[in-house]
Subunit: 216 residues, 2 copies
DNA sequence: TAGATTGTTAATCGATTAACAATC
DNA sequence: TAGATTGTTAATCGATTAACAATC
């Protein structure tokens, strides 16, 4: 897929944003775009766009630009949106519930196959198309279904133990909403941390030092 | 507060993580730490820690290290945790509800003073310590209360109009959970985007290219 | 063909790491 | 004092930007 061996993290983190903008363009029936036009819409340089895309191959055509839907499909493929990785959600509290309902896992290459909680009073309740399962059945479920990805919506205090259990069950990929820093405890693991607390503090810094801090 | 004029974004984004780790150390009654010890726990280099901290001043003592609670307090102050910036939440759907309940705004220098929605069937309902307010009353409320920060938990389609309304009401800081890219439309604005969809896609890339992609 | 725009190489810029003198 | 560890300068590394030849 990729031309070179090592794609930098900076490039990877821009890919979903390209994918999103190309989706918007497609909706607006714009079929062709140049790196310069796209750079103006996305507020980055045309050079960077061309460099980024060329990590993965030549998607453009000299003198013309890029075909929007072709490029979007290609980036989607690089991101793995056409996969169906079995995914489980641990923790059906407020945040877990919001993600279960709000996130389109299928569009991101994931298939949500189970939701677990330890709270007896909600086990068995429906959540979206699912029924909340007992965390005590985690081992049996995973041995049968072999999920690859876990979404962690659990308190920091519970995180370490759950991650240990999940890694033993062959899960090596985590979308982590707890404050626990998985990467400091485990290696050979793919982690995407969403530290909402850190994010709000970053905003707070920006507000108090008002220098238009923005994260693309 | 800061020594130089321009603190890089890379440094700023690490501050909340330092703050978090120092909080953990404090809980464990560790009163003193060296940059080397901290670097091992946080999986970064001691050089980087010293460089980062020295953007804001000399918090350490040669031959000794850093006083944990002093340093934590100092970073907290830099981040503005002791402020009480008036904050409103727009959108009380699943995600908005989760944030209202789950996030400790006070600990991040923000004070949640109002929650708004356009859905008549939930307006008036309680949410945490608040009552969901009618978005039609946004102007009157803001003129009276003068909030500074808005948390956006609204659909992408509604985002542009809401941001326009809010900027007119003097709100220039946004914690944005919608897919709308505020920074491409407005300037003179402080934005922290939490694009959950982008985050999941980044994880998907990591899973499909399994190279221990991690975000510190 | 002429004009436009890519793919790619080279130059610049910034961030991280290493080294070490200052000093507790 | 000797040992430890910071604060800070210098060296390295990587990412971004600029430039331009290739080519549609």
């Amino acid at each position: 897929m990729s031309k070179g061996i090592n794609i930098s993290n900076s490039v990877i983190r821009r890919l979903p944003r390209y994918y999103r903008f190309l989706g918007e363009l497609e909706k607006q029936n714009i079929s062709k775009i140049s790196s310069r036009e796209l750079s103006e819409r996305m507020r980055l340089t045309a050079s960077q766009i061309r460099q980024d895309l060329n990590c993965f191959g030549g998607f453009g055509q000299q003198g013309y630009g890029y075909n929007v839907s072709e490029l979007r499909t290609a980036i989607g493929h690089i991101l793995g949106v056409d996969k169906h990785r079995k995914t489980i959600l641990i923790g059906a509290g407020n945040l877990g519930t919001a993600l279960a309902v709000h996130i389109n896992f299928e569009k991101s290459g994931c298939k949500l196959i189970g939701i677990f909680d330890s709270n007896k009073s909600i086990i068995g309740s429906p959540l979206g198309e699912h029924t909340i399962l007992d965390i005590d059945n985690l081992e049996a479920f995973c041995k049968a279904e072999k999920p690859e990805i876990a979404v962690l919506c659990i308190p920091t205090s519970a995180a370490k133990a759950i991650v240990d259990r999940l890694t033993k069950l062959g899960i090596h990929s985590f979308w982590n909403f707890s404050h626990f820093d998985i990467c400091t405890e485990h290696s050979d693991i793919t982690v995407e941390n969403v530290h909402l607390g850190d994010s709000l503090l970053t905003l707070s810094y920006g507000v108090n030092n008002r220098n238009t801090s923005e994260k693309k």
